[in-house]
């Protein structure tokens, strides 16, 4: 199967590679690229979705859990997300970005929609407190080769994020993982709206610039 995927789906051009900051770690030798898998999914090859699931379900579930803080709901959403990847694959274009970016955008939107539907902000806050204490060990499982590479990436990205002042980290956390607007963040943190805007702009710029540096390390 991997051979089929590689041969049937051309890799990205050098031009595409050079324009986008590549922060996704290298895959094991012989593994089909994410783009090859996406193109195979567009050709309705279920095995490609299976491989994409093995590669990124852990990351996408972690993202969903970070938003909704409920294991069972996260599993339900994860299933919906991968079905949407299958159903909407035709809308993916490599000219607009990387497959992982597309999947993360889709997963985040689903998760935040789920959170809003349940109007569970308050409950999630309470769960966040207890689950964040369990997270380091409870969610660990046997790592695959891809996940080990992802682990290295995670450490480097965390270093970039952790270098931000706590107030900037908090503003970005609330915006990205809770889907809060600037006004909601201001109200939630008792901070002037202008200050929230500044924190978001400065924090995101630092992360963006840090990611550009990471391109040379990964």
């Amino acid at each position: 199967m991997p051979g089929n995927l590689e041969s049937s789906a051309p890799l990205e051009t050098e031009d595409e590679k050079s324009r986008l900051p590549a922060i996704v770690p290298a895959l094991p030798p012989g593994a089909p690229s994410d783009l090859a898998l996406m193109r195979a999914i567009q050709a309705e090859e279920p095995e490609a979705l299976s491989q994409l699931y093995d590669r990124y379900s852990g990351i996408l579930k972690a993202l969903v859990l970070r938003v909704i803080h409920n294991e069972a709901e996260a599993d339900d959403l994860l299933q919906e997300i991968f079905m949407e990847i299958w159903n909407q694959a035709k809308n993916f274009s490599s000219h607009k970005g990387k497959p992982l970016g597309w999947m993360v955008t889709l997963a985040r939107r689903r998760a935040i929609d789920g959170l809003r539907k349940k109007q569970a902000y308050t409950r999630a806050e309470e769960r966040l407190q207890s689950e964040s204490e369990q997270q380091p060990d409870a969610w660990v499982h046997n790592a695959t080769e891809v996940e080990i590479a992802l682990g290295d990436t995670r450490v480097l990205i965390r270093q970039v994020i952790d270098s931000l002042p706590p107030a900037q980290q908090q503003a970005i956390e609330l915006a990205f993982f809770r889907g809060m607007s600037q006004r909601e963040i201001a109200a939630n943190t008792n901070t002037p709206l202008g200050t929230v805007k500044t924190r978001l702009e400065l924090g995101l710029k630092k992360i963006y610039d840090g990611l550009k540096e990471l391109r040379h390390e990964l």
């Binding site: 852990g58 972690a62 970016g101 955008t105 985040r108 380091p136």
Partner: protein
Amino acid sequence: MSFEEFQNRSRLYVIGALEPEEIEEYEGARKSFGQKAEDFIRECYTLHEAFALSLRPAKSSAALKNRLMAMVREKKQR
């Protein structure tokens, strides 16, 4: 709006943190900066990848995968 300010707004835009009253001005600048703006916005989506990759992967269920693949194969056969 300068391009630097457009870049700042773009990073807010991709994470959905632009306020409604900022959207119109932003979209106007986006149009006037043209392809340069589109290229920059596309690069900003790397932030999404980064935030996801900053998380420790969660354990995903084999049963869930089996269910998913059964649904996909059934849909393909229709």
